[in-house]
Amino acid sequence: MVDAFYAVFQRTNFLTFVIIFLWGFYIMVTRYNLVKKLIGMYLVQTSVIFFLVSISAKKGATVPVLLSTTDPVQAANYANPLPHVLTLTAIVVGVATTGVGLALCAAIYRKYGSLDEQEVLERLE
């Protein structure tokens, strides 16, 4: 049991990911304000992106540019660049989603005069 806790606290990146993810999820589920829901959604996306970047980190490694062109390549000396590239794409996707979400929020506000989920639902009936 203690070992398990110890193992969890050794991996602070996993712990951070779980906290941000659950925090975002909690906001998404419990808040009635639509913009707050969007913020929760963005936190969930960001937590996954954070996780993806964190698994590429290595102790004592440098940027993935070859230090020498003559020596054989030592993979342990360079950080893995691929997750960062994936992350860039995922950030773009996240920004696009948030943009559409904010546009929908604005349209809902113009139409119903409120951003509160319950009030909007009342006016829909």
């Binding site: 999820f25 998404m28 639509l34 829901k37 969007l38 959604m41 969930v44 996306q45 937590s47 996954v48 996780f51 993806l52 698994i55 691929l82 997750p83 994936l86 794409t89 995922a90 996707v93 696009a96 989603t97 559409v100 979400g101 546009a103 929908l104 929020c105 349209a107 809902i108 139409k111 909007v120 639902l121 829909l124």
Partner: protein, 489 residues
Amino acid sequence: MSHQLPAILFLLPLFAAISMPVVCLKHRHWCQPISVAILAAMVPVSILNLHNVIHHGEVRYVFSGWAVPLGIEWVADGLASIILVLLSVLGLLGMVFSGPTSPKDLGGRIVHYYTLILLLISAMTGIVFSGDLFNLFVFLEVAAISSYALIGVAGGRALFAAFRYLILGTLGASLYLLGVSYLYAVTGTLNMADLVDKLPFLLSSKAVVGGLLFMFIGLGIKMALVPFHSWLPEAYANAPESISPILASLVTKVALLAWIRIVYWVFNASILINDIPILLLVEVAGALAAVIGASLALAQRNIKMIFAYGGISHIGIILIGISQGNPTGFVGGVFYLLNDSVMQAGLFFLAGVAFCQYGVRTIDDLGRIGKQAPWFTGSLIVMALGMIGLPPTGGFFGKWHIILGALEAGNYVSVAAVLLSTLLTLAYFARLFENIFRQTSTRSDAQSGEIPLSFKLALGVTSAAIMILGLFSSPITQLLLSHALPPAL
């Protein structure tokens, strides 16, 4: 040239989507004809691609010559090519249908509306062909973002439905991405073919199991599997009449196809979670979806809501078929997927005609349409036969193969689930017909008159396709058996 066909199929709608705002800036009425022309060009290309794949084997397309596993690979195998023919035909019909039904109050924004539809179609092409887990995620999101915007176009209730869809859909996409990053952390690759080589040694790893589960939940939200289905009915029922056939028939099916690819092509369906095979979990989820979706459909009064819940229950039936773990069930599931796409498109065409032509939204008003509408009533009868699964429609043969596969595997619970959902489908169509033929309303339908050619075309082709899929079910299932089976079966 022929090995470039997958890329051409993707680039046709993509370039049309990008150039649409420029080309149609001054001439708004060109949007719909240009979109129809692009989709009409996709149909022969996709058939050529299928012909090519059948005769010369699958095409592996590597972008800009970067070899696997460094580059991004697209795989045009039998399954993908067959689905792509379906996608382009249904997309074409949807475009033809959207001429007279597209939202009237958009003004200049109609250009963006058609841009989004073409973008949605090109993204779905990408999902079907993609051989790379991350690439699949990007296309899933492009398709999803286009659908959120397209649903929101209708305004009013649709805005709120689209917002809910956006929140849930993004959660699904994030979970899928989380699953992908788990697999990447374990194997160090994202390419499906490369994963097949590396995964067999890692199947007991908790990270692999967790990754697969996260992907299942993520794609489950995208395909509206039952516990995660709550976004679908509202979103599709309130979407503009012209776009709901394309959304309902293709978006969820394409997510389902992505799941089939991951579970059969990447994992070989061999993974155990606490000694429970993943296929059993999928089967239970499918059985629940089949029964719950159909029972919820019984409780609806809005026609589009009934059809949307019907679609949810059919997703369950397809999942039951593919999770039997034998070729009969798998082919039945894929054949039912083809049928279900056609039927969903047809049903939402019907709902669109009912609203745009006769002003009918709920089943209580259906009596107004009555007997003066031969096209409407005739195709509704064909769709109902298909949805219930009576011969000679394709729905019957799909369910037949699924039940045969389930009997072969000894899964009597899934047989019972398919039969129960069939009975419930019969019940909600009986309610529809009761309202149509009940001549209580004496109000004359003076506003109706002759229905436009594009409505006749959309209804006629989908009804004919349901019959043709049934009459030619044996060559089609043979084709699926010989070209679309995963390597494990």
